[in-house]
């Protein structure tokens, strides 16, 4: 059962990219959980797994295979509708990863206006979805530039350590140079409250910097269980602390937009 024409809120489709130069900081788990929560709130949501490691695809139990591979996605002029797979959750679709995405930089480089390619690929989906979430591979590359151009908001997980904050600062500088600059929001991820530094940074930095979300994602085994259960955390632990944190983060990511009524 579909929920009727998407993007029924009347506004433009929102796109959120989960991006960080570093790997293993919680991009994929955040992308999956935010996508699930947005769909639960009535937003027709598409999650595009751009990472050839295909972790998000795995979590949704979808085969990491796109017919024609990255070549077809990047270079084909046909819309990418047919590559989209429904997940087990109402209102949430997935554009799966493919191992050939590891060559995406090369594929993008061969196109005209290579930094705008993802933006163009996503354009035909505006009628189908209220929200597109991009789960990006960790790197600074042509893919990154595409993502920064295509996204309205870039969410960047930051582990509360000095080096990770420094990396986030580097990202801020990088984003500042992008012509169509997205809104960059950092958020603390994998927060271990037993560590003094974590507690200190999480308490202090969001009050000092407007580009850091107040919502912080704790380091919890419940989140690690996602890979075992192959499901979003709020699906199997909806009342957990972490699920509430993801909910808070979604609200901040969407700029405080209220949930859409289901069926609206």
């Amino acid at each position: 059962m579909s929920r009727g024409p998407a993007n029924s809120g009347g506004g433009p489709v929102r796109s959120i990219a989960l991006y960080n130069i570093k790997g293993g900081v919680g991009k994929t788990t955040t992308a999956v959980n935010l996508a699930y929560l947005a769909a639960q709130q009535g937003r027709r949501t598409l999650l595009w797994d751009l990472d050839p490691q295909a972790a998000a695809t795995y979590l949704f139990r979808v085969r990491a295979k796109v017919k024609g591979g990255g070549e077809r996605v990047i270079r084909d002029r046909k819309p990418i509708d047919s590559a989209i797979k429904g997940t087990d959750f109402d209102g949430l679709d997935l554009l799966p990863a493919d191992f050939t995405y590891r060559h995406m930089d090369l594929l993008l480089d061969r196109t005209k206006r290579p930094t705008r390619r993802l933006q163009r690929i996503l354009a035909p989906l505006t009628d189908d979805y209220d929200l597109v979430i991009l789960d990006c591979p960790p790197s600074v590359s042509l893919v990154s530039e595409n993502v920064l151009r295509a996204a309205d908001t870039v969410l960047s997980p930051v582990i509360p350590t000095t080096l990770s904050v420094r990396t986030f600062d580097q990202l801020c500088e990088f984003v500042a140079g992008v012509p169509r600059r997205p809104r960059l929001v950092g958020f603390f991820s994998m927060v271990d409250r037993r560590k003094t530094l974590h507690r200190d940074l999480v308490a202090r930095l969001p009050t000092e910097r407007s580009d850091l979300a107040t919502a912080a994602i704790p380091a919890q085994s419940a989140i690690e269980q996602m890979a075992v259960r192959r499901a979003p955390l709020p699906y199997y632990a909806p009342r957990s602390v972490a699920a509430r944190c993801y909910q808070d983060l979604l609200v901040e990511a969407l700029g405080g937009q209220p949930p859409l009524a289901v069926g609206a």
């Binding site: 009727g4 139990r61 979808v62 590559a83 429904g86 087990d88 609206a264």
Partner: protein, 546 residues
């Protein structure tokens, strides 16, 4: 069938579906639940004809409208606090409302079947335990007086990107179990079981035998219109939507019109009596119809300008009174007996004709029958007793056409409204003739003439509607000016100005209609339509009436 819908006989056990699925797939039971569906459509099956199925589905405290459009997946919308019968305008804004607004138009949605449903949901999984296809099994039972088991409904919904799996599943179930091939959709089956005939008009269309006696055919046409009046009476009394009254009045006017064109069906005084009674019914319902049209036409103005609220309240009060009058009239002994005695009279004519008899004495009127305009205008009476239907229908078409052409001879864009109203009445007479005898006329010519006539009628209708609206607005403005509307008009000056703006907009419609009228009249009088009229009368393709 709806997309992915398979129907099996009412005796099919849901466990058979479950067993068939389990034999081929890894199956996960996803949900079990009970709900009540109310199948909805208009009295004239507008959704059915548009390939749409609309249900009001209630499950525990949740209530939603489910719309399926042929070939598309269902869409849903919240439906709290909606009552049936109800208009589309009473529904909250939603994609469902947007989709049905145009086909349903001004008709009310009626609850045509209540179905109790026990649903069982399955997910068909792949090796990664990913759901590829969802299958819902609905065990349906018609509720109410005609309670009965309905076909077992199985809906196969592939998850996006797994359409091939959905097709495989449908084929497997089709092979394993016997689907019903003769049922359109589950909703259709429910409405049929509830005693309805989806897609069929309220009163069946009439097919006349061109070789039958003209008298028998005339009686059949009038009998059908009598049935139309009866079929719409309850809808008028219950004020379900304004089309019931429109249909009823169309049949009344058609009856009066044919009686005037062919006055020798019964004796002169009997015909006059019948005409008098139907004229009474027409007069009884005219104020209500005028107000229906007024309120419909002004709906956009009223919604746009809050200063028109006193005008809306004024018309609404008038309408309530007019509805009371119509109810009183229709439920009076005169109103109740009118069509009953008329039906008896017409059935007797039909029997006499079948047995080769002549004119029948019937009493459809009282004793004190004043004369009326039955024999009026320039259409001469026809001896229909011995003539054949085809010939009489042709002669009547020519006569009706000539009457319009003659009446339109001096018409221009400046002709006064009351003079155009006379022309409009002649057009209506021809329209009823073309509608009543449609089945005996050559189809192409009939279509051509009907198209030109309808275009003309639309123009004349617009002009007359503007005239009526102007008169109503003048009366309303007078009421406002002399203080009778003071209670409802907090800002009488603004209300008066807003009414003036409405009047101006109507006058613009009048101007546009008058400009079109001249062109449409020219087309109607032109050689092409003349040739078609000749063909209606039986002339060869190249012929035209003198």
């Amino acid at each position: 069938m709806e997309p992915g819908e398979l129907l099996f006989g009412p005796a099919t056990d849901p466990s058979q579906v479950s067993a068939a699925l389990s034999a081929h797939y890894r199956v996960r039971v996803e949900r079990v639940g009970a709900q009540r569906w109310t199948c909805l459509d208009t009295a004239d099956w507008r959704l059915h004809r548009a390939g749409m199925t609309l249900r009001d589905a209630r499950r525990a405290r949740r209530r939603e409208l489910l719309l399926t459009v042929r070939g598309d997946r269902a869409i849903s919308a919240a439906a709290a606090r909606v009552r049936w019968p109800g208009s589309v305008a009473s529904l909250p804004s939603s994609p469902v409302r947007e989709r049905i607004e145009r086909p349903v138009g001004m008709r009310a949605l009626l609850p045509l079947a209540e179905v109790d449903v026990q649903s069982l949901g399955f997910g068909l999984l792949d090796d990664d335990e990913k759901t590829r296809v969802r299958v819902r099994v609905d065990q349906q039972r018609l509720a109410g007086d005609r309670a009965a088991a309905l076909p077992l409904r199985v809906v196969i919904t592939p998850v996006r990107g797994y359409e091939r799996d959905g097709r495989r599943c449908a084929a497997m179930l089709d092979d394993a179990m016997r689907t019903m091939g003769d049922v359109d959709t589950a909703a259709t089956a429910a409405m049929v079981a509830a005693g309805h005939r989806p897609g069929e008009p309220m009163v069946a269309a009439l097919t006349l035998n061109p070789a039958a006696s003209a008298r028998a055919s005339l009686a059949a046409v009038l009998r059908r219109w009598s049935d139309v009046i009866d079929a719409n009476r309850a809808g008028v009394l219950d004020d379900i939507d304004i089309e019931y009254l429109h249909e009823l009045r169309t049949a009344v006017r058609g009856t009066r019109s044919l009686l005037s064109l062919v006055p020798d069906l019964f004796s002169a005084e009997q015909v006059q009596g019948a005409a008098r009674e139907f004229a009474w019914l027409g007069r009884l319902t005219t104020p209500l119809r005028d107000l229906d049209v007024t309120m419909r036409e002004l709906a956009a103005d009223l919604a746009r300008d809050p200063d028109l609220e006193p005008l809306r309240a004024y018309f609404a009060a008038l309408r309530r009174r007019a509805l009371q009058d119509v109810r009183a009239g229709l439920q009076s002994p005169r109103g109740v007996s009118l069509t009953a005695s008329w039906r008896v009279a017409l059935d007797r004519v039909a029997r006499d004709e079948a047995s080769g008899g002549g004119m029948t004495g019937v009493d459809v009127s009282g004793d004190d029958v004043p004369s009326n305009d039955v024999s009026g205008d320039d259409v001469s009476a026809h001896e229909v007793s011995s003539a054949r239907t085809r010939r009489v229908a042709g002669e009547l078409a020519i006569a009706a056409y000539r009457a319009i052409v003659k009446s339109a001879a001096t018409v221009s864009a400046q002709t006064p409204a009351d003079e155009l109203h006379r022309l409009r009445r002649r057009c209506k007479r021809m329209r009823y003739l073309l509608d009543g005898y449609a089945s005996v006329y050559p189809r192409e010519s009939h279509r051509e003439v009907l198209g030109a006539l309808t275009a003309l009628q639309d123009c004349l209708g617009d002009i007359q509607d503007v005239d009526v609206r102007r008169q109503q607005l003048t009366v309303a403005a007078s009421a406002l000016a002399d203080g009778r509307l003071a209670r409802t008009a907090a800002r009488p000056a603004e209300a008066l100005l807003a009414m003036g703006a409405v009047r101006e907009r109507r006058l613009m419609i009048d101007g546009a209609a008058r400009r079109s009228l001249v062109k449409r009249l020219a087309r109607f009088r032109g050689a092409a339509i003349q040739q078609c009229i000749g063909e209606l009368a039986g002339a060869p393709r190249s012929g035209a009436p003198a």
